[in-house]
Subunit: 276 residues, 2 copies
């Protein structure tokens, strides 16, 4: 495995120790935010299923041989490529999330990549929210869920993300990789925590009857584009951590996913927060 | 979903409430033990990949349509079919353990099966043992690991079993199924806790240099054939439990996997124990 030099805080002068970073699914909502906010700090490359208006290795992550060249000389991988919808049916979950995530970890391992940031999801523990709606969104509701709670997947999508975390743990344990699993809330392309288009219909799985219920949910689960970029950057820069499961939301007035572990372990300091 | 009647303890007179039980992988070491010890108590049926000297639905669990008929009229499934070796390479893990286990849960769900007993594995948390050898096998070593410890898979096989547990949890949460995950130690066809053939070589992954080290490991991880049968029977009979993760070993002199949860939750009372 490549030497990474002495532990050096990424925020010190001289820039980060890790520089060459491959982003899978770089064309998506989060990938676009990372390219915008982290492009100056790292030498980013991209892996996407289809050709893009920016330079990208074009290959399907369900084909291990096809994606291997994209990992050459890379120091870290941010693995975003997946079927992102919570209602995704089994055939796509299998191809894109189970097979695809194995291929990305295995390709990273074979190329000697030091660390992988894996886009997990709050849906790994989605049933806590499912059982709590709509009261769980109230500003004075005391419930919070941290990285130690028992998993309760709400969907095959959530199962696939729990599997990705288990797979990441295996690569940490047996192959000396550093793996960071981000259970991300809701990042939006227009960065609007109260996006009118999303307010118009109930989110997947949840039965939120009124616009007000949907508004308070969006307030609690939002992560701004620059905050997810900061969180990913922290994972790329942090020197000593080999394994992390953290939640990704902004400093919202109501938070039922606990970001104190992200703050303590990684130095995450969200700059944004949804309005009350 | 089928009504199961009032909660009735399986050990009371009149026999178990659940009677029609399908065993996948019924020809294997554990399947053979279950057929021997539980055949009088339940109406067992079998699903196997190849034809057997006993009646069996012959189909590959990686083919959902092919296995569906085996689930007709079944009340419970004991899912043992899998690639069982800890060193199993990815292609077989994918087919038999990831796809196969989804197909079994999904077929059970579609057929209205009430409960699934899933053969998970201690390899879901195998790294605790891996880090502890050989001292962890000593009679006076205090380390024990229960169902609440963080998962630490030691292999792709271990990852596949962690995935199976997550999938089981999803079917509990969203489809009202009852699921019992058994992290089984070592069941042997000849029921010998100190099988000379196994003493002759080091177990997979672990670097146990001496026969004495291998002897103390086998003493700690053994589960007798009638004890695994009893544990599975408890899962089939227990009335109120909807979700369980428990370890499966006999009442051995050294136990680093904690079976108190199996005792408390399911009434497991091992009848055997390895010799000191």
């Amino acid at each position: 495995m490549r030497e990474t030099g002495t532990a050096r805080d990424g925020s010190s002068d001289g820039g980060p120790v890790i520089r060459r970073v491959l982003i899978t699914g770089a064309e998506g909502t989060i990938g676009t935010a990372l390219r915008e906010y982290l492009g100056d700090r790292y030498a980013l490359s991209a892996l996407t299923k289809e050709s893009q208006p920016f330079p990208s290795h074009v290959a399907d992550i369900s084909d291990l041989d096809a994606i291997l060249p994209a990992f050459d000389g890379v120091e870290a991988v941010v693995h975003l490529a997946a079927s992102p919808a919570v209602e995704t049916p089994w055939p796509s979950i299998l191809q894109n999330n189970l097979i695809g995530t194995y291929n990305v970890f295995e390709a990273a391992h074979r190329a000697g990549v030091e660390r992988v940031v894996f886009a997990s999801s709050n849906h790994v523990i989605g049933m806590y929210e499912f059982d709590g709606v709509p009261d769980i969104y109230a500003l004075d509701d005391p419930r919070t869920y941290d990285h130690t709670v028992e998993i309760r997947p709400d969907s095959l999508y959530g199962v696939s993300k729990a599997y990705g975390e288990a797979l990441g743990r295996y690569y940490v344990e047996r192959h000396g990789m550093k793996v960071f699993c981000l259970r991300i809330g809701s990042v939006r392309g227009n960065d609007d925590p109260l996006d009118p288009e999303m307010l118009a219909s109930s989110p997947a799985l949840l039965d939120l009857a009124t616009e007000e219920e949907r508004r308070v949910r969006m307030r609690a689960t939002w992560q701004s584009r620059r905050d997810i970029a900061q969180l990913v950057g922290r994972c790329l820069d942090v020197p000593e951590v080999t394994w992390a499961v953290v939640y990704g939301i902004s400093d919202n007035p109501r938070q039922f996913w606990d970001i104190s572990h992200a703050r303590d372990l990684l130095g995450y300091e969200p700059q944004d927060g949804a309005p009350e």
